[in-house]
């Protein structure tokens, strides 16, 4: 059993906490997000025979990277940046966060989550946005926290990268 710390990043109200709530049973309440600015959950999974324990740090939403408590990122093995497809601004913030994380933490396993797939008709993102994301070379997973779609795939995509990196 190996443990890995991962962080969920993204703009305010993109659905980070909802995604985690779909994935794990939380020990701590949401009030930690508004007080301490972070809530930690745990999920154990098996990736190709390797038992993995993910300590998921759900960071309070940020409008830009400057608001992120960087100390919370220390020691993370990977991260997920969540984008709200219905909000163009969240895409900008995601790119900004990714850039700055890479600058400060180096290259780490990561996945982009395009959330609110159940509201695709309201999406403000177009082909160009998606192409830009794809050009980063990072996995992109469409998710719907409301319907529970893509949630397992999102975390599995990151976990596989973590296992490969660990080996």
């Amino acid at each position: 059993m190996i443990q890995k710390k991962i962080c969920l990043l993204g703009s305010f109200s993109v659905g980070k906490t909802s995604l985690i709530s779909r994935y794990v049973n939380s020990l701590f309440s949401d009030k930690y997000l508004t007080t301490v600015g972070v809530r930690i959950d745990k999920k154990q999974l098996d990736i190709d025979g390797q038992e993995l324990s993910l300590l998921i740090w759900d960071l309070a939403g940020q409008d830009d990277f400057t608001n992120i408590r960087t100390s919370y990122l220390r020691g993370m093995a990977g991260y997920i940046i969540v984008i709200d497809g219905t909000r163009h601004n969240s895409w900008d913030v995601a790119l900004s966060i990714d850039k700055l994380v890479r600058e400060s933490m180096g290259e780490l396993p990561m996945v982009f989550a395009l959330n609110k797939a159940d509201l695709k008709q309201e999406w403000q993102l177009n082909e160009n946005h998606l192409r830009t994301l794809a050009q980063t070379g990072k996995p992109l997973v469409e998710t719907s926290a409301k319907l529970g779609e893509g949630v397992e795939a999102l975390f599995s995509a990151l976990a596989k990268q973590l296992v490969v990196q660990h080996d």
């Binding site: 710390k5 020990l27 301490v36 959950d41 324990s53 300590l55 093995a77």
Partner: protein, 497 residues
């Protein structure tokens, strides 16, 4: 020793001078293992002593080798190790047993005190009032402090390396708590612009305090409930942290999420699970002694009761047995008596039978005798009645010695004896008779009377008792019908009364 061509060799000697020979000697030492071993043997113990004085790395390096050597030695010859440990293990085991017994007695006493005392009922009331468990209330009231949990956290990632907790502590997922502890420290450090190197050392809420010790690679966090002796416990944390950093330095540096190498740190962390109870007046554990005494008394009473019941049963059985024996003896005696009685009865019966037989015989004899007697009486009676005495005509003289008369007298006496035997009295009636063919009737009557009287007298003189004899003439009132007329003889009639 030469290396290379002579010219090169010459050049080297010119360049290095005498040092070249020393270098060759050193080279030879390294090339020959025996020489190199001899060289190292001279300094190895000093080198080990020096290094062990510097840090604990030597212990860390030697630990697996020593463990492996010990394992092999024990598996090859366990008796040798056992013999070596025997002087140590015996006293240690005794001490451990004594300590365990003492602790058990103390715990029992505490349990009794907590269960029976007024204080315990107050705690129960508090537990009911506050909705907490009795154990929590008792713990809070009796403990000065208790270290409930100790976390060993990787400083960089906030991941949990090891976690221990006291038996009665309630803990949530330690991996998540470890992360939150790290996050909170970061939150405080960020929020209040703490200077570099400063770290959160204490968190406190109510009666729970979290003491934190930051090491270079790992953080130790101790959750304490009660009144915390901060300095004392911080010092303990510091020592433990130092020990872990010393023993697991390489593992800490190489940590990438696998907490396996830190499994053995549980021993070190468990040493931090301290607790202190309220100092109570030292007193003899009288409740425990009382309970044990009560149990012992109960057991003794029960044993005595059982023994008493057993004795009673045995006595009862013995009494019954004795009564049975007595009854048996009585029966035996009665049987013997019965047998004796039976024997006596049989004897009596035999005697009676014999007597009866004898009596029967006697009776038969008597009957026979009586019959004979009766026959004799009858014969004698006939003979007597058939007897006659021939009187001369007109005379009444009786000759005493007349054979017929003598015979008659003897017969009458014999009849008397026989009649006596038969219980009867005979009477012989002598009937005088006279021939009425001549003489007068009166004369004949007197002659007949005379003749009867003379015969009677003659018979009396011959010895016949008088009462037997009665004399009458034929003309008398008792004249026999059978007598014939014109007969001079006298007739006799025999009667028995």
């Amino acid at each position: 020793m030469t290396v290379g061509t002579p010219d090169v060799e010459q050049l080297r000697r010119l360049l290095f001078g005498k040092d070249y020979d020393d270098l060759l000697v050193l080279k030879e030492q390294f090339q020959h293992s025996d020489k190199y071993s001899a060289s190292v043997a001279g300094i190895i113990s000093e080198a080990l002593r020096l290094r062990s004085g510097q840090d604990d790395s030597l212990s860390e390096v030697l630990e697996p080798t020593v463990e492996q050597a010990l394992t092999r030695s024990i598996s090859r010859n366990p008796k040798g190790i056992a013999d070596m440990l025997y002087p140590v293990m015996g006293p240690a085991i005794r001490k451990s047993i004594n300590q365990a017994l003492s602790e058990a007695l103390e715990n029992l006493n505490r349990l009794l005190e907590n269960s029976l005392s007024l204080r315990s009922w107050k705690w129960r009331f508090d537990a009911w009032r506050t909705g907490q468990s009795y154990a929590q209330i008792a713990l809070l009231r009796t403990l000065v402090y208790q270290v409930e949990q100790v976390f060993l956290i990787h400083r960089e990632t906030g991941l949990l390396l090891q976690h221990v907790e006291s038996p009665n502590a309630v803990s949530k997922d330690p991996a998540m708590v470890s992360g939150m502890l790290t996050a909170i420290q970061d939150f405080i450090a960020d929020s209040f612009d703490a200077s570099q190197g400063d770290a959160l050392r204490t968190l406190s809420l109510g009666d729970v305090t979290v003491l934190i010790e930051h090491g270079p690679q790992a953080v130790l966090a101790m959750v304490v409930r009660g009144n915390v002796p901060s300095e004392e416990l911080h010092e303990l944390l510091l020592e433990t942290s130092a020990a872990i950093h010393s023993q697991y330095a390489s593992a800490l540096k190489a940590f990438h999420g696998n907490p396996g190498p830190f499994a053995n740190t549980a021993t070190l962390l468990s040493d931090c699970l301290k607790s202190r109870q309220q100092r109570q007046q030292q007193h003899s554990p009288w409740l425990a002694w009382l309970l044990l005494g009560s149990i012992a008394s109960g057991l003794a009473y029960w044993t005595f009761t059982v023994w008493q019941a057993q004795q009673q049963r045995l006595q009862q059985e013995a009494g019954e047995k004795q009564a049975q024996q007595q009854a048996l003896q009585t029966l035996s005696q009665r049987l013997q008596e019965l047998q004796s009685h039976t024997s006596d009865l049989q004897t009596s019966l035999q005697t009676l039978t014999a007597q009866q037989r004898e009596q029967l015989e006697q009776h038969r004899q008597e009957s026979l005798k009586l019959a004979q007697n009766e026959q004799a009486i009858s014969e004698l009676s006939h003979q007597i009645e058939a007897s006659t005495y021939p009187f001369e005509l007109g005379k009444a003289d009786v000759g005493l010695q007349q054979p017929g008369l003598v015979q008659l007298g003897e017969n009458i006496q014999a009849l008397l004896r026989a009649s006596n035997l038969a219980g009867k009295t005979p009477q012989v009636i002598i009937v005088g008779n006279a021939d009425d063919s001549s003489g007068t009737e009166e004369f004949n009557r007197k002659l007949a009377q005379q003749r009867a009287s003379n015969l009677r007298d003659a018979l009396i003189r011959n010895g016949v008792p008088a009462f037997v004899l009665a004399a009458y003439s034929i003309n008398g009132p008792e004249q026999a019908a059978t007598l014939l007329k014109n007969e001079r003889s006298t007739r006799y009639q025999v009667r028995l009364y």
